[in-house]
Symmetry: C3
Subunit: 364 residues, 3 copies
């Protein structure tokens, strides 16, 4: 199996161009102190247990350090030189930051998207397309849209009326942005995501659910990154807002009029219901649900699958559905685990009281 | 930040055409009784805390009435005249219904989709396209499909063989409808939703999962509205059915052979497994899961993140996973919260019984 | 209502070609032993309670056998001849396997996708397209991609640089496959699914979340089937791997570096976080969440909505969030249900001890 996979990968290799550097060259590029041999050739990054002799790996804690002894890696990124290691070590201040640099160096080189508008794209009236923009095949850009410098609009994207997209954005294939949405600079939106569709707001009139018109828009601030197959609904009025630097994983639902602060992390399959507000730096783990009209303070972390139904302050740790403080939850789980013991204790107490009562009767 | 956002919005405003009316004109249009000045100009609807002097806002309960005193709104929709308010009041019987009217009046005016078939669309044989239909760029309509009067097929949509779509539908961009599905009149399907893909039905034969062919279809009745990035699977035989007037939010999964009644509300990220049946007016809150082959009676409401694993009658309120009656759940949660008290009580009882036993021994 | 639906279906029937066979012909085709009349005409498969006189139905257990007495079906597939049944019986060894055969025989006959590259498709340089391949309208195939014999690439698909797709695959409409992904033979991917987008891996540097470049790819082995609107993220390094014969439902999230074994079943809306590993034959029910870096042994079954936060061995049955052994969970649920009884028992014990203490005081 593994040999088959590597066969396939090397087949791919025939078409791709991969960078190859000596460890000495690599150390110089990333400003690392080199310890050990200088001439080992490196062409990729790999996990410590999968790395081969032309891969560089990395260790961030002692757990991996042990695995490193058995690793076939050609070199390693470390924060502190490890005594007695036979492979070259690139010592850096911040392994995570260095890893990003090294991964960027060895990233597969792909042909850049062609600048200009593909012949099969459809562009409306009063559209303003800045310098260096790429619009892919089959994309549709409606009247009044504006696309900033060096932004890439993938093939099959639909950009609605009066949408404003900033500079250096990457809007991947088949993304749909409805009318009047506003996307900042350096934003990435992955494939098949939908921005600005109607919110789910209905009023029951004469036994029928009537859709509330959603006149508002969506504002996505600078450096926001949104995964694939997500939905960000437009506001009833005002805007649904995703704050600067916030990152959103795949299959996430952001309902109408939600306001998300700066630098939040929102994991896969999270759902945030209408008009809820998140502060800055909030972290929502996978499959979390936030009820409508909830406020969550800055820095609060919500555990996977939790369901938040009450407002939460800053710096909280919430888990469970309905979500409560994580320490309280742990206590409750521990108590539940002790339920069988309680049963036993009650039984024993009952027996002892039975006996005491019998003894009392004897005394009488 | 806020000033930057409004800057962006006003930039958008340059391209959009927005309606502007005096409160007197607006009151006449929606049949409201006007109390206060007649000449204030209104061009949008806003929430009470965000409204400016050219916005109309609305209050539905006393909570917002307090906020209204501090609001910068130019006018307000109310159900009953509020004494001593300085801004004009439009008094209506049903604030929700009036709000929908007012939002429709101030909805951004967008260019209607062009009637006709875009040159880049692909249309098969024996396709019947009625009057006033719009087929967007890059759409593909397979042999034998029929599209009713004034329906809009967005760009990038794929409409499969023999699909029947009724009148006045809006099928948004990149929606995929597989073969032999049947969509009624006045149906809205938001972007990137998939209707009629194979259900997830496998049989284990000789150690391999073999797909059960799904010969059935999907029937979506009149006035159904489906959000973005949803999946409605086709039936093994017969049809997966979504009843008249039912509304479905984003990222919802409707499995093969599910039958949903009329006027249900199904919130974001709900999943309904194969062959389950919902009555009329059922409400499923966000992230609810319904097991396969379950029946849920009309008017039953299921709380967010609940998991329904047993049939449920009509008019129930279910919460939790596994879902139980909401009152029973509240009782259980209250009891769980009292667990630490139980521990204490058992401890005290034990001490008291210890003492009694010791005393008994003394007596002996 | 029902009459209207069947009206719609018969309208569809005008355009479709449906197979019609006598039960004798059908029995011969599938190698069944026929009991009862030979000449009944069959044109479709239906559930026992919905079948009409030109439908064949099937029974797999005694529950349906009762319903069969009341069924209007024209014939029935059975594993063992039922005495005294008035309709023809096709007796087969394996009803499930025979059902698949019969469904295939009566599947709606659709025009096969046209072999060749649609004029509106865009094909890059060094692309290798094998014999019998169909590339739909508006599809985009980037440089260096290779498509194997008789594979169908749906309209609106985007196939990235250097992607390798095997033989006899069906990549449905609007699927996006990012660069350097590797798809085996006989793979099916349903509409709007995204393969190979960036994983959700960030490092906090100077207060900003920096994306970790994802240099790895995705490997999808032979006979894998993936539903609609799914996301399979590419690896940081190495590959995200989906093992041979594994089947995945709709709206599923497979994060970066996840490794899934052979012949697993993954139901709708499941989320598997980064670097987790599943053995062979693992079953995840709907809306399950798997934490990152978790290992789950072969044959383990995880119940709907469970959240797995610890490694699990082979052949386990896990339920709940956090997930525990299903028997332990059942015990805990039973104990929780007895909490009201505990309250009562503690109350009674307290009263009895009160009395004993009072009596003791009397004695003194």
């Amino acid at each position: 199996m593994l040999s088959e996979l590597s066969g396939r990968q090397s087949a791919l290799g025939r078409f791709s161009f991969f960078m190859k550097l000596t460890v000495a060259q690599l150390a110089e590029k990333i400003g690392a102190e080199l310890s050990g041999g200088r001439d080992v050739g490196i062409s990729a990054v790999e996990a410590v247990d999968a790395a081969g002799d032309s891969d560089i790996t990395f260790v961030t804690d002692d757990k991996h350090r042990a695995a490193l002894e058995k690793s076939g890696a050609g070199a390693v990124l470390v924060a502190k030189r490890i005594e007695g290691l036979r492979i070259p070590q690139l010592v850096v201040e911040n392994v995570d930051a260095a890893l990003i640099e090294v991964l960027s160096i060895f990233a597969p080189r792909l042909k850049a998207p062609a600048v200009g508008i593909a012949p099969s794209a459809t562009v409306g009236k009063n559209v303003k397309i800045a310098d260096g923009v790429s619009v892919g095949p089959g994309a549709v850009i409606d009247d009044g849209a504006r696309i900033g410098d060096y932004t890439v609009i993938g093939s099959g994207c639909k950009i609605g009326h009066n949408v404003n997209i900033g500079k250096h954005c990457r809007i991947h294939h088949n993304v749909v942005v409805y009318h009047n949405c506003d996307i900042g600079n350096n934003v990435i939106i992955a494939a098949n995501t939908v921005i600005g569709s109607m919110g789910f707001g209905y009023v029951l009139i004469d036994g029928w659910h009537k859709l509330i018109p959603h006149n508002g828009g969506v504002v996505i601030e600078d450096f926001v990154e949104i995964g694939a197959n997500c939905c960000v609904d437009r506001a009833k009025f005002g805007n649904t807002i995703i704050g600067e630097g916030t990152k959103i994983d795949n299959l996430v639902q952001i309902a109408h009029n939600v306001v998300i602060g700066k630098c939040c992390l929102i994991a896969g399959q999270v759902g945030i219901a209408g008009s809820s507000k998140l502060g800055d730096g909030v972290v929502l783990a996978g499959q979390v649900g936030i009820m409508d009209n909830i406020e969550i303070g800055s820095g609060t972390v919500v555990g996977a699958q939790a369901g938040v139904v009450h407002n939460a302050g800053s710096g909280q740790q919430l888990v469970g559905s309905p979500a409560i403080d994580s320490r309280e939850k742990l206590r409750l789980i521990a108590l539940q685990r002790r339920l069988p013991k309680f049963v036993e204790q009650i039984k024993q107490l009952t027996a002892r009281v039975d006996k005491l009562e019998a003894a009392k009767d004897d005394i009488k």
